[in-house]
């Protein structure tokens, strides 16, 4: 179709005049009925998810105690993987959102946003493959270097900012200038620490929670980014403009005006990212080793509810105890993610209320 839809000839066609009003009304009723019917099926399909899990679980006989113990381990593994993932996603996601929403040059922003959007579309099975086949052997010998990097990189950035930051007028393109510096720091740390690192810290398994956290974090950075960026953009321009008029620097406007106003939005973004990490399957299935180990050690393997479902469900026979245990696990996972995202909704609601109140006051 081409051209302006407003000029469609069919709107003015003789069809409207020739057909009797009654048949047109009847046709309208049929359309409404079809639309309502389809929506009813959709609603039914969506409601079937919790209903099916509840009905399938209907307690005929109590589940054996070991099922509950196993469930506990799975729950601990899920939460551990989710926490590791969100610990990686939060700093990177929120920092990128803060930069993109507040400092970024508009032309750079047209590159940052699509890059992250495309990452969101990458299937997680691919990230799982990279984590399991390429990252795991590397991380096994470089745990200590990574720990050093976590400390050194922020310190180097802060120190460089303290020393030279006041001379930079325009922060809009800063990441491009900083990238060579960061690459140099990382290369330096890896070559210096690389030799000793292999023996310094030996993880219990090459497939461990830290690796999962890295992969899950990369997978959920785009989500945390776009949600926090939206929250930052919700704050009216007038607020930051007022801060600038009072002589605030960009950083001061960010910390004193933007962050307090959009804080609950950022918390909601973190919670939704956490909820996504909890339910992720392929990464955990491929890179966690699937060993049912409890505890909180980030360097040992784990087994999550989602991986247990993917591995156990096809083999379990319906109506058996194993099947019901798996249904219980699925229900637990569903409730966990629903609770976290409902919490995020409540927090976000607060943001909207506060911002609309501020808009009214202004």
């Amino acid at each position: 179709m081409s051209g302006n839809p407003a000029t469609y000839a069919s709107v003015l066609s003789a069809d409207f005049i020739r057909t009797s009003t009654r048949s047109r009304r009847r046709r309208g009723r049929v359309v409404s009925a079809v639309v309502s019917f389809c929506t009813a099926i959709v609603l039914l399909g969506l409601l079937a998810i919790p209903l099916f899990l509840l009905v399938g679980l209907h307690p005929r006989t109590p589940l054996p105690a070991e099922t509950w113990r196993h469930l506990e381990v799975l729950f601990a593994g899920t939460v551990r993987a989710g926490l590791c993932g969100v610990l990686v996603a939060l700093p990177f996601g929120i920092a990128t959102a803060m930069f993109s929403a507040h400092f970024c040059a508009p032309r750079l922003r047209t590159w940052i946003k699509p890059t992250l959007e495309i990452l969101e579309a990458v299937p997680t099975v691919v990230l799982g493959l990279i984590a399991a086949a390429t990252l795991a052997p590397w991380l096994k010998v470089h745990v200590a270097s990574v720990l050093v990097l976590i400390v050194v990189v922020p310190l180097a950035l802060l120190a460089a900012g303290m020393a030279f930051g006041t001379q930079v007028r325009n922060e809009g393109w800063l990441p491009l200038w900083l990238l060579p510096l960061l690459i140099a720091v990382i290369a330096l740390v890896l070559t210096l620490a690389g030799r000793q690192s292999a023996s310094a810290i030996v993880p219990a398994s090459p497939w461990n929670a830290a690796l999962i956290g890295l992969a899950l974090g990369v997978a959920s950075i785009p989500m945390v980014f776009s949600l926090s960026e939206d929250a930052l953009f919700l704050v009216p321009r007038a607020h930051t403009d007022a801060a600038f008029a009072l002589g605030a620097t960009r950083w001061q406007a960010l910390t004193t005006v933007l962050l307090p106003a959009a804080g609950s939005g950022l918390v909601a973004a973190g919670l939704l990212g956490f909820s996504r990490c909890l339910g992720e399957t392929m990464i955990v299935l491929m890179a966690s080793g699937n060993t049912p180990i409890g505890g909180i050690d980030p360097l040992s393997g784990l087994r999550s509810i989602s991986a247990e479902l993917a591995l156990g469900m096809p083999e379990a026979s319906p109506q058996g105890d194993v099947w019901r245990g798996l249904l219980l696990a699925a229900l637990l996972l569903l409730l966990l993610t629903l609770c976290v995202s409902a919490l995020a909704d409540v927090v976000r609601e607060r943001l909207h209320r506060r911002l609309s109140a501020a808009a009214h006051a202004a």
């Binding site: 389809c38 998810i49 099916f52 890059t115 099975v125 399991a132 096994k140 800063l174 950075i221 909890l278």
Partner: protein, 425 residues
């Protein structure tokens, strides 16, 4: 002054972290592209002369094998079976290393490779030891190939990968059935999800009552449900419930062998349709809401009923939004592997879901999928040295498909936005 300084430090931290994350993402894409395409590139043949006098001829497959930089793995002639001739050689045992120009590689149809040199040890002599000439797939002299010839070999490998079925329990050969399975599944899913998604979006666009609010809440909440839970529902409700019911009613004579009561294409498509429904509904509703109200009011003023305005005006005008929703749903469905593992994806399917036998589309058959091939080749295969590059090749293909779909959706969205900007002025 101090405040400025602290502010600058904070700014640099934020800028550095965002540069790091974007840089890491770009690195990820570059790595994926190179690792995905590398398996098709003709590898050179190395000749290793060891200290003890042995000579090894073959491909170096892992130059820096996981954490032990003092050794290499070399793949030499596989006389008996595939994967039987990997050797680990310590670097200090190697006396001399060269890439002789007359080295030849013979690839056999069963996946084995034979390495030799022209002349006394020529192709015919090499074949005589292990196979008949009829089994030869390809003879290459990789060390003397020019750049153009290398590219030609690369593209012929790529074409072979895309257009042939797998062999040797999915370790060699192409991915045609997996590609076809993925495409058929996604097509069937679109046929199911689009009518329902559009109807729901129209309903939400028109109604503001209690029922509409319930539907909206359900769709918003279930957009965040983990995909594996959809798989559980697909297995319990569709495969065992619906499929088992159909079997008892219509195929009772074949029981206990399931017809629809096992995992299959139809149930996988239904599961994915449920999974992608929120995406379609949200994007179509957004598209409908974007259309200026004056357009609808104009058609009503000209005497159209609400439904006529919808069919003749609003839906055609929202066509780009429908397309965007469809493409996003397809991209999401193409990447969803976890739920499929419960509802009928298999490592090797005996028959394609689409073929020339009536009724051409076989919705009850098990099928292969690119995403599952990645998982299977990387983890479940016995031969990691061959499996991981294969998994990366599949991953490159899958990511390529998904990225093209998403870019199309983004372009469409921008066009849509531009069009209504012109409409409003």
């Amino acid at each position: 002054m101090n405040a400025r300084r602290y502010g600058a430090a904070g700014t640099w931290l934020v800028a550095g972290l965002s540069g790091l994350s974007v840089g890491a993402i770009l690195l990820l894409f570059v790595f994926l592209a190179s690792a995905g395409l590398a398996p098709f590139w003709p590898a050179p043949v190395d000749r290793l002369q060891l200290q003890d006098g042995h000579v090894l001829l073959g491909e170096i497959v892992a130059a820096d094998a996981a954490g032990s930089p003092d050794a290499v793995a070399i793949r030499t002639s596989e006389q008996e079976r595939m994967g039987s001739a990997y050797q680990r050689v310590r670097l200090r045992d190697i006396a001399a290393r060269s890439q002789p120009a007359d080295a030849i590689v013979i690839t056999l149809v069963d996946g084995r490779r034979l390495y030799g040199r022209d002349g006394a040890e020529g192709a015919a002599a090499l074949l005589a030891t292990a196979a008949s000439p009829a089994d030869v797939l390809e003879v290459l002299q990789p060390n003397t190939l020019g750049a153009l010839a290398r590219c030609a070999v690369f593209f012929s490998h790529l074409a072979h990968f895309l257009a042939t079925p797998p062999a040797a329990s999915n370790l060699i050969g192409g991915v045609l059935p997996a590609l076809l399975g993925t495409l058929t599944l996604v097509l069937l899913m679109s046929l199911i999800v689009m009518p329902f998604g559009i109807a729901t979006a129209i309903y939400l666009h028109r109604r503001r009552g209690f029922a509409a609010r319930c539907v909206r809440i359900a769709i918003n909440q279930l957009a965040g449900v983990p995909s594996i839970v959809y798989g559980v529902i697909g297995l319990g409700l569709f495969v065992h419930g619906l499929g088992g019911g159909i079997d008892r009613l219509f195929y009772a004579d074949r029981l206990p062998v399931p017809t629809f009561g096992g995992g299959g294409l139809l149930w996988a498509a239904l599961t994915l349709a449920l999974l992608t429904l929120p995406v379609v509904v949200v994007s179509v509703e957004e598209g409908l809401a974007r259309i200026p109200g004056s357009l609808r009011e104009g058609s009503l003023a000209l005497g159209a009923t609400h439904d006529e305005a919808l069919w003749t005006l609003l839906l055609p005008a929202a066509r780009p939004a429908l397309l965007t929703g469809l493409i996003l749903a397809v991209a999401r469905a193409a990447g969803a592997v976890a739920p499929l593992m419960l509802v009928g994806v298999v490592k090797l399917a005996p028959a394609l879901p689409v073929d020339g036998v009536f009724p051409y589309l076989h919705p009850s058959r098990e099928f292969m999928h690119l995403g599952f091939t990645i998982y299977d080749a990387a983890l479940a295969s016995a031969d990691a040295i061959r499996g991981v590059p294969r998994a990366y090749a599949c991953a490159g293909l899958l990511v390529g498909v998904v990225i093209v779909l998403n870019l199309t959706a983004i372009l469409l969205r921008n066009r849509l936005r531009d069009r209504y900007r012109t409409l409003e002025t």
